[in-house]
Protein backbone atom coordinates (compact mmCIF):
# COMPACT_ATOMS: atom_id res chain seq x y z
CA UNK A 1 0.00 0.00 0.00
CA UNK A 2 1.78 3.14 -1.20
CA UNK A 3 0.31 6.47 -0.20
CA UNK A 4 1.81 9.26 -2.28
CA UNK A 5 1.76 12.98 -1.58
CA UNK A 6 3.26 16.00 0.06
CA UNK A 7 1.56 16.70 3.38
CA UNK A 8 2.40 20.41 3.11
CA UNK A 9 0.72 21.02 -0.24
CA UNK A 10 -3.04 21.11 0.20
CA UNK A 11 -4.84 18.31 -1.62
CA UNK A 12 -1.56 16.71 -2.67
CA UNK A 13 -1.75 15.18 0.80
CA UNK A 14 -4.76 13.03 -0.22
CA UNK A 15 -2.71 9.83 -0.31
CA UNK A 16 -1.11 10.62 3.04
CA UNK A 17 -4.53 11.17 4.60
CA UNK A 18 -5.59 7.74 3.37
CA UNK A 19 -2.55 6.24 5.10
CA UNK A 20 -3.56 8.02 8.26
CA UNK A 21 -7.12 6.72 7.97
CA UNK A 22 -5.91 3.17 7.43
CA UNK A 23 -3.63 3.38 10.41
CA UNK A 24 -2.41 -0.06 11.35
CA UNK A 25 -5.65 -1.69 10.36
CA UNK A 26 -4.78 -3.33 7.09
CA UNK A 27 -3.77 -6.79 8.22
CA UNK A 28 -0.23 -7.68 7.25
CA UNK A 29 -0.18 -5.20 4.39
CA UNK A 30 2.72 -2.77 4.63
CA UNK A 31 1.61 0.87 4.41
CA UNK A 32 4.28 3.11 2.92
CA UNK A 33 4.17 6.88 2.60
CA UNK A 34 6.11 8.53 -0.21
CA UNK A 35 6.45 11.99 -1.72
CA UNK A 36 6.28 10.68 -5.29
CA UNK A 37 9.86 10.52 -6.53
CA UNK A 38 9.79 7.94 -9.32
CA UNK A 39 12.89 5.93 -8.53
CA UNK A 40 11.81 5.52 -4.92
CA UNK A 41 8.35 4.44 -5.98
CA UNK A 42 9.90 1.98 -8.37
CA UNK A 43 12.06 0.54 -5.60
CA UNK A 44 8.93 0.09 -3.48
CA UNK A 45 7.17 -1.81 -6.26
CA UNK A 46 10.00 -4.25 -6.85
CA UNK A 47 9.40 -7.63 -5.31
CA UNK A 48 5.82 -6.88 -4.24
CA UNK A 49 3.11 -9.40 -5.16
CA UNK A 50 0.46 -6.73 -5.08
CA UNK A 51 0.51 -2.96 -4.80
CA UNK A 52 -2.25 -0.49 -4.09
CA UNK A 53 -1.32 3.12 -4.68
CA UNK A 54 -3.22 6.25 -3.70
CA UNK A 55 -2.32 9.65 -5.12
CA UNK A 56 -3.93 12.99 -5.85
CA UNK A 57 -4.57 13.89 -9.46
CA UNK A 58 -5.70 16.80 -11.61
CA UNK A 59 -7.93 15.84 -14.51
CA UNK A 60 -10.62 18.49 -14.57
CA UNK A 61 -13.11 16.32 -12.69
CA UNK A 62 -14.89 17.58 -9.58
CA UNK A 63 -12.73 17.99 -6.50
CA UNK A 64 -12.94 14.82 -4.43
CA UNK A 65 -13.85 12.54 -7.35
CA UNK A 66 -12.42 9.07 -6.89
CA UNK A 67 -11.21 6.87 -9.73
CA UNK A 68 -9.75 3.40 -9.69
CA UNK A 69 -7.29 2.15 -12.31
CA UNK A 70 -6.16 -1.43 -12.70
CA UNK A 71 -2.59 -0.87 -13.80
CA UNK A 72 -1.98 -4.56 -14.37
CA UNK A 73 -4.43 -4.19 -17.28
CA UNK A 74 -3.29 -0.87 -18.76
CA UNK A 75 -1.54 2.44 -18.36
CA UNK A 76 -2.62 5.39 -16.31
CA UNK A 77 -4.12 8.22 -18.37
CA UNK A 78 -1.16 10.12 -19.87
CA UNK A 79 -1.62 13.30 -17.85
CA UNK A 80 -3.15 14.21 -14.57
CA UNK A 81 -0.72 12.84 -12.05
CA UNK A 82 1.50 15.57 -10.79
CA UNK A 83 4.92 14.76 -12.18
CA UNK A 84 7.82 15.41 -9.87
CA UNK A 85 10.21 18.23 -10.70
CA UNK A 86 12.21 15.66 -12.63
CA UNK A 87 9.31 14.99 -14.95
CA UNK A 88 9.34 11.48 -13.52
CA UNK A 89 6.35 10.83 -11.34
CA UNK A 90 3.95 8.03 -10.55
CA UNK A 91 2.89 7.34 -14.15
CA UNK A 92 6.51 7.07 -15.28
CA UNK A 93 7.45 4.91 -12.30
CA UNK A 94 4.67 2.48 -13.15
CA UNK A 95 5.54 2.27 -16.84
CA UNK A 96 9.20 1.86 -16.01
CA UNK A 97 8.22 -0.96 -13.65
CA UNK A 98 6.28 -2.56 -16.50
CA UNK A 99 9.27 -2.25 -18.86
CA UNK A 100 11.56 -3.72 -16.22
CA UNK A 101 9.10 -6.53 -15.57
CA UNK A 102 8.95 -5.34 -11.97
CA UNK A 103 5.24 -4.62 -12.00
CA UNK A 104 3.45 -6.46 -9.19
CA UNK A 105 0.96 -9.01 -10.47
CA UNK A 106 -1.84 -6.95 -9.01
CA UNK A 107 -1.40 -3.20 -9.21
CA UNK A 108 -4.22 -0.78 -8.54
CA UNK A 109 -4.15 3.01 -8.38
CA UNK A 110 -6.79 5.05 -6.59
CA UNK A 111 -6.77 8.68 -7.75
CA UNK A 112 -8.45 11.45 -5.82
CA UNK A 113 -9.11 14.66 -7.70
CA UNK A 114 -7.46 17.60 -5.95
CA UNK A 115 -8.47 21.24 -5.98
CA UNK A 116 -5.78 23.25 -4.25
CA UNK A 117 -2.07 22.49 -4.04
CA UNK A 118 -0.98 25.66 -2.28
CA UNK A 119 1.90 25.50 0.18
CA UNK A 120 0.63 24.97 3.70
CA UNK A 121 -3.01 24.72 2.62
CA UNK A 122 -5.23 22.22 4.43
CA UNK A 123 -6.97 19.38 2.62
CA UNK A 124 -10.20 20.49 0.88
CA UNK A 125 -13.28 19.11 2.70
CA UNK A 126 -14.25 17.16 -0.42
CA UNK A 127 -10.82 15.55 -0.61
CA UNK A 128 -10.80 14.73 3.10
CA UNK A 129 -14.18 13.03 2.65
CA UNK A 130 -12.91 11.18 -0.41
CA UNK A 131 -9.82 9.99 1.50
CA UNK A 132 -12.08 8.39 4.12
CA UNK A 133 -14.10 6.67 1.38
CA UNK A 134 -10.96 5.41 -0.36
CA UNK A 135 -9.66 4.01 2.93
CA UNK A 136 -12.92 2.10 3.37
CA UNK A 137 -12.82 0.81 -0.19
CA UNK A 138 -9.23 -0.34 0.21
CA UNK A 139 -10.08 -2.13 3.41
CA UNK A 140 -12.93 -3.86 1.60
CA UNK A 141 -10.87 -4.64 -1.49
CA UNK A 142 -7.79 -5.90 0.30
CA UNK A 143 -9.29 -7.57 3.34
CA UNK A 144 -12.65 -8.45 1.82
CA UNK A 145 -14.40 -6.64 4.65
Amino acid sequence: MICVGNPQRGDDAAGRRVAEALGASLGDVEIIEEEGEATRLLARLEGADAAYIVDACVSGASVGDIRRFDISAGQLPPTGFAASTHGFGLAEALELARSLRAMPQRCVVYAIEGGTFDIGAPLSPAVAAAAAIVADRLRAEILGE
Partner: protein, 430 residues
Protein backbone atom coordinates in the same frame (compact mmCIF):
# COMPACT_ATOMS: atom_id res chain seq x y z
CA UNK B 1 15.31 30.98 -52.21
CA UNK B 2 14.02 27.71 -50.87
CA UNK B 3 11.97 27.98 -47.72
CA UNK B 4 10.84 25.13 -45.55
CA UNK B 5 9.61 25.19 -42.00
CA UNK B 6 9.48 22.35 -39.53
CA UNK B 7 7.70 22.84 -36.26
CA UNK B 8 8.02 20.58 -33.28
CA UNK B 9 5.75 21.32 -30.38
CA UNK B 10 7.39 19.27 -27.68
CA UNK B 11 11.05 18.75 -27.14
CA UNK B 12 11.27 15.89 -24.72
CA UNK B 13 13.79 14.84 -22.13
CA UNK B 14 14.96 18.25 -20.98
CA UNK B 15 13.91 19.98 -17.81
CA UNK B 16 11.25 22.62 -18.35
CA UNK B 17 9.40 24.23 -21.21
CA UNK B 18 10.42 26.32 -24.19
CA UNK B 19 11.08 26.15 -27.90
CA UNK B 20 13.86 25.90 -30.40
CA UNK B 21 13.81 27.71 -33.73
CA UNK B 22 16.41 27.00 -36.38
CA UNK B 23 16.53 29.10 -39.55
CA UNK B 24 18.46 27.89 -42.57
CA UNK B 25 18.93 29.60 -45.93
CA UNK B 26 20.40 27.92 -49.00
CA UNK B 27 21.62 24.99 -47.04
CA UNK B 28 23.32 26.94 -44.28
CA UNK B 29 21.99 27.45 -40.77
CA UNK B 30 21.72 31.18 -40.19
CA UNK B 31 20.47 31.21 -36.66
CA UNK B 32 19.36 28.98 -33.83
CA UNK B 33 17.33 30.40 -30.99
CA UNK B 34 16.24 28.78 -27.79
CA UNK B 35 12.97 30.54 -27.16
CA UNK B 36 12.31 30.26 -23.49
CA UNK B 37 8.77 31.30 -22.79
CA UNK B 38 8.20 30.30 -19.21
CA UNK B 39 7.72 33.48 -17.20
CA UNK B 40 10.69 34.60 -15.14
CA UNK B 41 10.50 33.30 -11.62
CA UNK B 42 11.54 36.32 -9.58
CA UNK B 43 13.58 34.41 -7.05
CA UNK B 44 16.04 37.25 -6.71
CA UNK B 45 13.17 39.49 -5.69
CA UNK B 46 11.72 36.89 -3.30
CA UNK B 47 14.99 36.99 -1.41
CA UNK B 48 14.98 40.72 -0.74
CA UNK B 49 14.26 41.61 2.86
CA UNK B 50 14.57 38.01 4.02
CA UNK B 51 17.23 37.03 6.55
CA UNK B 52 20.54 35.76 5.23
CA UNK B 53 19.87 32.50 7.05
CA UNK B 54 16.86 31.83 4.81
CA UNK B 55 18.75 31.93 1.49
CA UNK B 56 19.74 28.24 1.35
CA UNK B 57 16.18 27.03 1.86
CA UNK B 58 14.59 29.58 -0.46
CA UNK B 59 17.05 29.12 -3.30
CA UNK B 60 16.92 25.31 -2.99
CA UNK B 61 13.40 25.64 -4.34
CA UNK B 62 14.66 26.94 -7.68
CA UNK B 63 15.46 23.39 -8.73
CA UNK B 64 14.26 19.95 -7.69
CA UNK B 65 17.26 18.29 -9.32
CA UNK B 66 20.10 20.45 -8.09
CA UNK B 67 18.87 22.00 -4.82
CA UNK B 68 22.21 21.22 -3.16
CA UNK B 69 24.02 23.41 -5.69
CA UNK B 70 21.72 26.31 -4.83
CA UNK B 71 22.22 25.73 -1.13
CA UNK B 72 25.98 25.51 -1.48
CA UNK B 73 26.30 28.66 -3.57
CA UNK B 74 24.05 30.46 -1.08
CA UNK B 75 25.92 29.39 2.06
CA UNK B 76 29.33 30.09 0.57
CA UNK B 77 28.25 33.53 -0.64
CA UNK B 78 26.82 34.35 2.80
CA UNK B 79 29.94 33.13 4.57
CA UNK B 80 32.01 35.18 2.16
CA UNK B 81 29.95 38.24 3.12
CA UNK B 82 30.23 37.52 6.84
CA UNK B 83 33.94 36.78 6.73
CA UNK B 84 33.73 33.16 7.86
CA UNK B 85 35.38 30.09 6.35
CA UNK B 86 33.91 26.66 7.05
CA UNK B 87 36.61 24.03 7.22
CA UNK B 88 37.44 20.58 8.47
CA UNK B 89 34.70 17.94 8.73
CA UNK B 90 31.96 20.45 7.89
CA UNK B 91 33.66 21.26 4.63
CA UNK B 92 34.04 17.56 3.93
CA UNK B 93 30.36 16.94 4.62
CA UNK B 94 29.50 19.67 2.14
CA UNK B 95 31.59 17.92 -0.47
CA UNK B 96 29.85 14.68 0.43
CA UNK B 97 26.34 16.04 -0.06
CA UNK B 98 27.48 17.59 -3.35
CA UNK B 99 28.76 14.13 -4.39
CA UNK B 100 25.23 12.88 -3.78
CA UNK B 101 23.77 15.51 -6.05
CA UNK B 102 26.22 14.85 -8.86
CA UNK B 103 25.53 11.13 -8.66
CA UNK B 104 21.75 11.43 -8.72
CA UNK B 105 21.52 14.27 -11.23
CA UNK B 106 24.14 13.00 -13.68
CA UNK B 107 22.79 9.45 -13.48
CA UNK B 108 19.27 10.64 -14.18
CA UNK B 109 20.55 12.48 -17.24
CA UNK B 110 22.80 9.70 -18.47
CA UNK B 111 20.30 6.85 -18.16
CA UNK B 112 16.88 8.46 -18.41
CA UNK B 113 17.39 11.43 -20.69
CA UNK B 114 20.53 11.08 -22.79
CA UNK B 115 21.32 7.40 -23.42
CA UNK B 116 18.06 6.78 -25.32
CA UNK B 117 19.39 9.23 -27.96
CA UNK B 118 22.38 7.06 -28.66
CA UNK B 119 20.55 3.75 -28.58
CA UNK B 120 17.61 4.82 -30.73
CA UNK B 121 14.77 4.88 -28.20
CA UNK B 122 12.09 7.47 -27.66
CA UNK B 123 12.82 7.44 -23.93
CA UNK B 124 13.93 5.50 -20.91
CA UNK B 125 10.70 3.52 -20.59
CA UNK B 126 11.12 2.15 -24.13
CA UNK B 127 14.84 1.58 -23.57
CA UNK B 128 14.09 -0.38 -20.39
CA UNK B 129 12.08 -2.94 -22.36
CA UNK B 130 15.23 -4.06 -24.20
CA UNK B 131 17.87 -3.13 -21.64
CA UNK B 132 16.28 -3.87 -18.31
CA UNK B 133 19.53 -4.75 -16.55
CA UNK B 134 21.22 -1.58 -17.68
CA UNK B 135 18.33 0.63 -16.60
CA UNK B 136 18.25 -1.17 -13.26
CA UNK B 137 21.93 -0.44 -12.84
CA UNK B 138 21.22 3.24 -13.53
CA UNK B 139 18.42 3.32 -11.00
CA UNK B 140 20.59 1.65 -8.35
CA UNK B 141 23.37 4.12 -9.03
CA UNK B 142 21.03 7.08 -8.79
CA UNK B 143 19.62 5.74 -5.55
CA UNK B 144 23.08 5.84 -3.98
CA UNK B 145 23.20 9.58 -4.71
CA UNK B 146 19.75 10.04 -3.24
CA UNK B 147 20.83 8.14 -0.12
CA UNK B 148 23.67 10.58 0.51
CA UNK B 149 21.35 13.56 0.17
CA UNK B 150 18.68 11.97 2.36
CA UNK B 151 21.19 11.19 5.10
CA UNK B 152 22.97 14.54 5.14
CA UNK B 153 20.14 16.73 3.93
CA UNK B 154 17.25 15.23 5.86
CA UNK B 155 15.37 14.32 2.71
CA UNK B 156 16.14 13.61 -0.94
CA UNK B 157 14.60 16.60 -2.66
CA UNK B 158 15.00 20.12 -1.33
CA UNK B 159 17.08 19.06 1.66
CA UNK B 160 16.46 20.91 4.91
CA UNK B 161 19.61 20.31 6.94
CA UNK B 162 21.97 22.77 5.26
CA UNK B 163 22.55 26.12 6.94
CA UNK B 164 24.86 29.07 6.63
CA UNK B 165 27.86 28.09 8.74
CA UNK B 166 27.41 24.33 8.39
CA UNK B 167 24.52 21.97 9.09
CA UNK B 168 21.69 21.77 11.61
CA UNK B 169 22.78 18.26 12.47
CA UNK B 170 25.88 16.34 11.52
CA UNK B 171 25.89 12.55 11.18
CA UNK B 172 27.56 10.11 13.51
CA UNK B 173 30.31 7.98 12.01
CA UNK B 174 28.28 4.82 12.32
CA UNK B 175 25.41 6.39 10.35
CA UNK B 176 27.71 6.71 7.37
CA UNK B 177 28.75 3.08 7.28
CA UNK B 178 25.68 1.67 5.47
CA UNK B 179 26.14 4.48 2.97
CA UNK B 180 29.70 3.33 2.36
CA UNK B 181 28.48 -0.16 1.51
CA UNK B 182 25.95 1.24 -0.95
CA UNK B 183 28.59 3.51 -2.46
CA UNK B 184 31.03 0.66 -3.04
CA UNK B 185 28.42 -1.06 -5.18
CA UNK B 186 27.59 2.26 -6.82
CA UNK B 187 31.24 2.78 -7.71
CA UNK B 188 31.26 -0.49 -9.63
CA UNK B 189 28.09 0.59 -11.41
CA UNK B 190 29.67 3.95 -12.19
CA UNK B 191 32.72 2.32 -13.71
CA UNK B 192 30.44 0.12 -15.81
CA UNK B 193 28.58 3.29 -16.84
CA UNK B 194 31.77 4.90 -18.13
CA UNK B 195 32.54 1.81 -20.20
CA UNK B 196 28.95 1.53 -21.44
CA UNK B 197 28.72 5.17 -22.60
CA UNK B 198 32.19 5.06 -24.15
CA UNK B 199 30.88 2.41 -26.53
CA UNK B 200 28.17 4.62 -28.05
CA UNK B 201 28.45 6.00 -31.58
CA UNK B 202 29.21 9.70 -31.50
CA UNK B 203 29.02 12.24 -34.31
CA UNK B 204 32.57 13.33 -35.11
CA UNK B 205 32.26 17.01 -34.20
CA UNK B 206 34.02 19.47 -31.92
CA UNK B 207 33.87 23.14 -31.07
CA UNK B 208 36.49 25.55 -29.86
CA UNK B 209 34.77 26.40 -26.58
CA UNK B 210 36.01 28.76 -23.95
CA UNK B 211 35.54 26.46 -20.98
CA UNK B 212 34.76 28.12 -17.64
CA UNK B 213 34.79 26.25 -14.34
CA UNK B 214 36.11 26.45 -10.84
CA UNK B 215 39.68 25.29 -10.61
CA UNK B 216 40.22 23.53 -7.32
CA UNK B 217 43.52 23.63 -5.51
CA UNK B 218 44.51 20.08 -6.35
CA UNK B 219 40.98 18.75 -5.92
CA UNK B 220 38.20 18.30 -8.43
CA UNK B 221 35.95 21.28 -7.65
CA UNK B 222 32.55 21.31 -6.02
CA UNK B 223 32.33 24.51 -4.00
CA UNK B 224 35.72 26.07 -3.80
CA UNK B 225 38.39 27.30 -6.13
CA UNK B 226 39.00 30.19 -8.47
CA UNK B 227 36.93 30.77 -11.57
CA UNK B 228 39.17 29.80 -14.45
CA UNK B 229 38.84 29.50 -18.19
CA UNK B 230 40.63 27.64 -20.94
CA UNK B 231 41.66 31.04 -22.33
CA UNK B 232 43.44 32.30 -19.27
CA UNK B 233 40.73 33.76 -17.06
CA UNK B 234 41.67 33.31 -13.40
CA UNK B 235 39.53 35.28 -10.96
CA UNK B 236 37.85 35.04 -7.59
CA UNK B 237 34.06 34.80 -7.42
CA UNK B 238 34.06 38.39 -6.12
CA UNK B 239 35.39 39.49 -9.50
CA UNK B 240 32.71 37.68 -11.50
CA UNK B 241 30.73 40.81 -12.35
CA UNK B 242 33.82 42.52 -13.73
CA UNK B 243 34.34 39.77 -16.28
CA UNK B 244 30.89 38.40 -17.06
CA UNK B 245 27.71 40.10 -18.14
CA UNK B 246 24.14 39.03 -18.64
CA UNK B 247 22.00 40.41 -21.42
CA UNK B 248 18.38 40.08 -22.27
CA UNK B 249 17.50 38.58 -25.63
CA UNK B 250 14.07 38.96 -27.10
CA UNK B 251 13.44 35.25 -27.63
CA UNK B 252 14.10 34.13 -24.07
CA UNK B 253 12.93 34.98 -20.58
CA UNK B 254 16.26 33.66 -19.28
CA UNK B 255 19.16 36.08 -19.48
CA UNK B 256 22.17 35.12 -21.60
CA UNK B 257 25.60 35.31 -19.98
CA UNK B 258 28.79 36.20 -21.83
CA UNK B 259 32.39 36.90 -21.01
CA UNK B 260 32.74 40.65 -21.53
CA UNK B 261 34.22 41.54 -24.91
CA UNK B 262 34.69 37.84 -25.73
CA UNK B 263 31.32 36.16 -25.99
CA UNK B 264 29.81 32.77 -25.22
CA UNK B 265 31.49 30.25 -22.97
CA UNK B 266 30.68 26.81 -21.69
CA UNK B 267 30.33 25.59 -18.12
CA UNK B 268 29.54 22.07 -16.94
CA UNK B 269 31.21 18.66 -17.13
CA UNK B 270 33.26 19.36 -20.27
CA UNK B 271 34.61 22.57 -18.73
CA UNK B 272 35.32 21.04 -15.33
CA UNK B 273 37.06 18.14 -16.96
CA UNK B 274 39.14 20.35 -19.26
CA UNK B 275 40.36 22.45 -16.33
CA UNK B 276 40.63 19.80 -13.61
CA UNK B 277 41.13 16.36 -15.15
CA UNK B 278 44.44 15.95 -13.34
CA UNK B 279 42.63 16.27 -10.00
CA UNK B 280 40.31 13.32 -10.57
CA UNK B 281 40.83 10.26 -8.40
CA UNK B 282 43.20 7.66 -9.91
CA UNK B 283 40.27 5.35 -10.66
CA UNK B 284 38.29 8.08 -12.45
CA UNK B 285 41.40 9.23 -14.34
CA UNK B 286 42.11 5.72 -15.48
CA UNK B 287 38.50 5.21 -16.57
CA UNK B 288 38.61 8.47 -18.54
CA UNK B 289 41.82 7.38 -20.22
CA UNK B 290 40.39 3.98 -21.05
CA UNK B 291 37.29 5.68 -22.49
CA UNK B 292 39.54 7.69 -24.81
CA UNK B 293 38.66 11.09 -23.42
CA UNK B 294 42.13 12.67 -23.57
CA UNK B 295 42.83 15.71 -21.42
CA UNK B 296 40.18 17.87 -23.11
CA UNK B 297 36.90 16.75 -24.65
CA UNK B 298 35.45 19.30 -27.06
CA UNK B 299 32.82 17.04 -28.59
CA UNK B 300 29.63 17.87 -26.67
CA UNK B 301 28.02 14.56 -27.68
CA UNK B 302 30.70 12.81 -25.65
CA UNK B 303 29.71 14.80 -22.56
CA UNK B 304 27.76 11.70 -21.50
CA UNK B 305 31.10 9.95 -20.94
CA UNK B 306 32.46 12.88 -18.95
CA UNK B 307 29.33 12.85 -16.80
CA UNK B 308 29.88 9.15 -16.17
CA UNK B 309 33.50 9.83 -15.18
CA UNK B 310 32.29 12.51 -12.78
CA UNK B 311 29.81 10.08 -11.26
CA UNK B 312 32.65 7.62 -10.76
CA UNK B 313 34.72 10.37 -9.18
CA UNK B 314 31.83 11.38 -6.92
CA UNK B 315 31.44 7.79 -5.68
CA UNK B 316 35.16 7.56 -5.06
CA UNK B 317 35.31 10.94 -3.34
CA UNK B 318 32.27 10.15 -1.19
CA UNK B 319 33.93 6.95 -0.02
CA UNK B 320 37.15 8.81 0.76
CA UNK B 321 35.23 11.38 2.81
CA UNK B 322 33.28 8.72 4.72
CA UNK B 323 36.45 6.78 5.39
CA UNK B 324 38.25 9.80 6.85
CA UNK B 325 35.27 11.36 8.56
CA UNK B 326 35.68 12.65 12.08
CA UNK B 327 32.60 13.88 13.83
CA UNK B 328 32.82 17.66 14.25
CA UNK B 329 32.44 19.13 17.70
CA UNK B 330 29.81 21.52 16.48
CA UNK B 331 27.44 21.28 13.57
CA UNK B 332 27.93 24.90 12.48
CA UNK B 333 30.23 27.84 13.07
CA UNK B 334 28.99 31.05 14.67
CA UNK B 335 28.10 33.97 12.49
CA UNK B 336 27.41 37.63 13.18
CA UNK B 337 25.29 39.66 10.83
CA UNK B 338 26.88 42.74 9.30
CA UNK B 339 26.45 44.97 6.29
CA UNK B 340 28.46 43.33 3.56
CA UNK B 341 28.45 41.88 0.08
CA UNK B 342 29.43 38.30 -0.60
CA UNK B 343 29.63 36.09 -3.64
CA UNK B 344 30.36 32.48 -4.47
CA UNK B 345 30.34 30.13 -7.40
CA UNK B 346 29.92 26.39 -7.02
CA UNK B 347 29.69 23.55 -9.52
CA UNK B 348 26.11 22.41 -10.07
CA UNK B 349 26.00 19.16 -12.06
CA UNK B 350 25.20 21.05 -15.26
CA UNK B 351 27.61 23.93 -14.67
CA UNK B 352 28.79 26.82 -12.59
CA UNK B 353 26.22 28.52 -10.38
CA UNK B 354 26.97 32.04 -9.18
CA UNK B 355 25.29 33.82 -6.26
CA UNK B 356 25.93 37.30 -4.93
CA UNK B 357 24.18 38.86 -1.94
CA UNK B 358 24.23 42.30 -0.45
CA UNK B 359 23.33 42.24 3.24
CA UNK B 360 22.17 45.03 5.55
CA UNK B 361 23.58 45.44 9.05
CA UNK B 362 20.65 43.47 10.51
CA UNK B 363 21.37 40.48 8.26
CA UNK B 364 18.54 41.09 5.81
CA UNK B 365 19.17 40.54 2.13
CA UNK B 366 19.15 43.92 0.35
CA UNK B 367 19.95 42.53 -3.07
CA UNK B 368 20.45 39.08 -4.60
CA UNK B 369 21.83 37.93 -7.89
CA UNK B 370 21.69 34.33 -9.13
CA UNK B 371 23.18 33.19 -12.41
CA UNK B 372 22.33 29.54 -13.09
CA UNK B 373 24.41 27.35 -15.38
CA UNK B 374 21.82 27.08 -18.10
CA UNK B 375 21.72 30.87 -18.51
CA UNK B 376 25.45 30.72 -18.98
CA UNK B 377 25.35 27.83 -21.42
CA UNK B 378 22.44 28.97 -23.58
CA UNK B 379 24.53 31.06 -25.99
CA UNK B 380 26.92 28.12 -26.41
CA UNK B 381 24.04 25.72 -27.04
CA UNK B 382 22.80 28.04 -29.78
CA UNK B 383 26.32 28.17 -31.23
CA UNK B 384 26.47 24.35 -31.20
CA UNK B 385 23.26 24.22 -33.20
CA UNK B 386 24.46 26.82 -35.68
CA UNK B 387 27.77 25.06 -36.11
CA UNK B 388 26.57 21.46 -36.34
CA UNK B 389 23.12 21.63 -37.91
CA UNK B 390 24.22 22.81 -41.36
CA UNK B 391 25.75 19.39 -41.97
CA UNK B 392 22.45 17.76 -41.02
CA UNK B 393 20.10 19.80 -43.20
CA UNK B 394 19.82 17.00 -45.73
CA UNK B 395 18.44 14.63 -43.12
CA UNK B 396 14.72 13.90 -43.10
CA UNK B 397 12.76 16.19 -40.81
CA UNK B 398 12.41 13.69 -38.00
CA UNK B 399 16.07 12.82 -37.98
CA UNK B 400 17.07 16.48 -38.12
CA UNK B 401 14.79 17.34 -35.27
CA UNK B 402 16.19 14.49 -33.25
CA UNK B 403 19.77 15.60 -33.85
CA UNK B 404 18.92 19.15 -32.79
CA UNK B 405 17.20 17.94 -29.64
CA UNK B 406 20.17 15.76 -28.87
CA UNK B 407 22.48 18.75 -29.37
CA UNK B 408 20.56 20.56 -26.65
CA UNK B 409 20.42 17.55 -24.35
CA UNK B 410 24.21 17.27 -24.60
CA UNK B 411 24.34 20.10 -22.08
CA UNK B 412 21.65 18.77 -19.75
CA UNK B 413 19.94 22.15 -19.69
CA UNK B 414 17.81 22.79 -16.68
CA UNK B 415 15.43 25.32 -18.05
CA UNK B 416 13.46 25.22 -14.84
CA UNK B 417 16.49 26.82 -13.21
CA UNK B 418 17.15 29.29 -15.99
CA UNK B 419 13.40 29.57 -16.23
CA UNK B 420 11.95 26.63 -18.18
CA UNK B 421 11.86 24.79 -21.66
CA UNK B 422 10.81 23.30 -25.19
CA UNK B 423 9.19 23.50 -28.57
CA UNK B 424 11.08 23.05 -31.81
CA UNK B 425 10.77 24.84 -35.14
CA UNK B 426 13.06 24.68 -38.13
CA UNK B 427 12.88 26.99 -41.08
CA UNK B 428 15.16 25.39 -43.66
CA UNK B 429 14.70 28.16 -46.15
CA UNK B 430 14.46 25.26 -48.50
Amino acid sequence: MNVKTIKVDQLARVEGEGALKVIARDGVVQSAELNIFEPPRFFEAFLRDRMYTEAPDITARICGICPVAYQMSAVHAMENALGVAVDGPLRELRRLIYCGEWIESHTLHIYMLHAPDFLGYAGAIEMARDHADIVRRGLDLKRAGNSIIALLGGREIHPINVRVGGFYRTPRRRELQPLAEELKRARDFALATVRWTAGFDFPDVARDYEFVALRGDGEYPFSQGRIASSRGLDISAAEYDEHFEETHVEHSTALHAHIKARGPYLTGPLARYALNAASLSPLAREAAREAGLGTVCANPFRSIIVRAVEVLYACDEALRIIDNYEEPERSAVDLDARAATGSAATEAPRGMLYHRYQLSADGKIADARIIPPTSQNQPSIEEDLKTFATAWLDLPDDALRHRCEQTIRNHDPCISCATHFLRFEIDRGG
